[in-house]
Amino acid sequence: MKELLDQLIALAVEKVPLLGQAPDWVFYLLWMLVAGAALLVYASLIAGITSWVERRIAGRMQARIGPNRVGPRGFFQWIADGLKSLFKEDVTPANADKPLFRLAPYLVFTGMFGAWAVLPYSARLYAADLNVGILYVMAITSLVVIGILMGGWASGNKWGLFGALRSSAQIVSYEVPAGLAIATAVALSGSLSLQEMVRAQAGPLGILGWNIFKSPFALVAFFVYFIAAVAEGNRTPFDLPEAESELVAGYNTEYSGMRFVFFFFAEWANLFLIGAVSTTLFLGGWQGPLANPDTWWGVMIGAGWFFLKACFFVFVLIWIRWTLPRLRVDQLMAMCWKYLVPIAFVCLIGTMLWMSVFGDRAFFGLVAVGP
C-alpha cells in the first residue's frame, strides 16, 4: 500500500509542474485528506447500511417486513432516506442558540468518526496506528457527549435539555467501568496501541489467544465493557437521552433535515465502532484462523475476520435494542456504580493476579497443558 502510494506520488511529481518544489507537508496533507475521505466514505457506507439492516432486523423481530421498496429488499432505502433528508426543511427554532445549535451535530459526527481513524481493520489496513490508540478512542468519543449536550441545550427545548443532561450524566458515569474494563485488556496485551493489542492476541488456531480466553476475568470484563459501551452509545436499554416515550426524542427533539441525519448517522456508525473496539480489545481483532499479518491474503482474511466479528456485534446490539425495555435514571446509575464498577475492579485486579500467577498464557492453553 505504501509502495503504491510512493509510486503514485512520484508519478504526480513528475507530471504536475511546480509540485516537485512543494514542501513535504503538502504531500502529507494530501495523503491525510485522501485517507480521511476514504475513511469517511467507508464509515458513511457502514452507517447507512446499518440503518437499513437495523430496520430490516427490527421488522423481522416484530413479525413485520421492514423497508422493502427501494431496490432489492429495500437495500437502497438508506440512500433514499438520506436524499429525502437533504431536501427537507432544516428548521432552527426561534428560541435556539443558533451557532451552538448548528455546531452540535457536527461535533457528534466528528467524535464518532474520529475514532474510526485508529481502528485496526487488519494487520496493515488502518489509517493511523497511535501508540495511545485506545485512549484516543475514548478521548475523541467524548466529543459526542459534548455535541449532545450542546444540541440539547441549544435547541431551547426542555425535553431536549432533559435528554442532554441525562446523556452527559450517563456517559460520564459509564466511562468509569468502560475504562476499567479497557484497562483489563490493556494489562493483558501490554500496549495502548490497537494494532499492538491485536498482535498480542495471537495464539493457536488464531482464536485461543484472544483476551477473553486468556483469563476468566477478562471474559467478565468483556461483558462489562460491552454493557458500558452500549450505555455510552445511548442504545436501548440505556437510551434514556432520547427515550421517545418519555422525552419525545430527547436531545434531538428540535432537529430536522440533514442535522438530524448527522445525529443518526453517528449513532449507527457507533454501532460498528462498539463492535470494532470490543473485537479489538477482547476478541482478537483481526486474529482468526488463517489470518496472517505477513502475507497479503492473510491480511485480507484478517480484515474479513474483523469485519465479521464487528458485524456480529452490530447484530447483537440491534437484537438487544429490539428486545429490552429501558432503565430508569436512578437504576441506570445504580447499575453503573453498584454493579459494573465493582465488577470491573474485581476483573482488573483478578486479571493482574492471574497474570502474575500464570503469566499471560491462554486460558484454554492452561486447561489443556496444565500450569
Binding site: G59, M61, R64, W319
Partner: protein
C-alpha cells in the same frame, strides 16, 4: 446474596427475552403487502402470513340497488350520522324482488329520484342495512375510497338522467286519474 441473585435474574431473563425475539426473527413476517396481495381474493395469493382476507361480511362501502328501493326512508331515519339522503316521487305501483334471503316481495309505489350516501360521514355501523325491508342498501367489500376532493365522497346512486326520467314518469302518473300496469312493466323492462 441478593446482589448475585439480581445479576443472575437479569442475565437469565434477558436471555429468555432475546430467545423469543430471535425465534420471531426466523419466523415469516405477517405483514400483508397490501397492493400486491389481492386481499379480496379469499386465498390471498402471494401472502404467507396468518391473517385472513377481507371477510364476506366485511362492512365496506354502502351501495344501493335503486331498482328495488321502495323509498321507505327507514335507512335515512335510523342513520345516526345522517349520511343518507333519499328523495322520491310517487310513481306507478309495482312489486319488486327484494334482495333478502326470504325473497319477500315488497310493494313499490315510490321511486327514488335522489339517493346519496355521504361516505365521508358514514361510520359503517350497518344499522341501515338491518332496517332495510328490501335489502337494497347493503355493504360491499370495497374499501378503497381515497378521493382527491371532498365532494367525491358523496356517492350519487341515481344519475340526473334517471332522476329526470322518473320525474317525468311521476308527472305522467300524477296527470293520470288512475295508474295503469302496462306503463310500469315497461319501466321495469327498460331498467333491466
Amino acid at each position: 446474596m441478593n446482589y448475585f441473585r439480581n445479576i443472575w435474574e437479569a442475565i437469565s431473563s434477558i436471555a429468555q427475552g432475546m430467545a423469543v425475539t430471535l425465534r420471531q426473527f426466523f419466523t415469516k413476517p405477517e405483514t400483508v403487502q397490501y397492493p400486491e396481495v389481492d386481499v379480496l381474493n379469499p386465498r390471498m395469493p402471494g401472502y404467507s402470513g396468518h391473517l385472513k382476507p377481507v371477510s364476506e361480511r366485511f362492512r365496506g362501502f354502502l351501495t344501493v340497488d335503486t331498482t328495488v328501493c321502495i323509498s321507505c326512508n327507514q335507512c335515512a331515519h335510523v342513520c345516526p350520522v345522517d349520511c343518507i339522503l333519499v328523495e322520491s316521487e310517487k310513481g306507478p305501483k309495482t312489486t319488486v324482488n327484494s334482495l333478502r334471503p326470504d325473497g319477500k316481495e315488497s310493494p313499490k309505489t315510490r321511486y327514488p329520484v335522489q339517493f346519496d350516501i355521504h361516505l365521508g360521514r358514514c361510520m359503517y355501523c350497518g344499522l341501515c342495512t338491518e332496517v332495510c325491508p328490501t335489502g337494497c342498501i347493503h355493504f360491499t367489500r370495497e374499501f378503497r375510497g381515497a378521493a382527491g376532493e371532498y365532494h367525491k365522497l358523496i356517492h350519487h346512486f341515481i344519475s340526473p338522467e334517471e332522476a329526470e326520467r322518473v320525474r317525468k314518469l311521476a308527472a305522467e302518473e300524477a296527470a293520470k286519474p288512475k295508474p295503469e300496469k302496462p306503463v310500469a312493466t315497461k319501466v321495469e323492462a327498460e331498467k333491466e
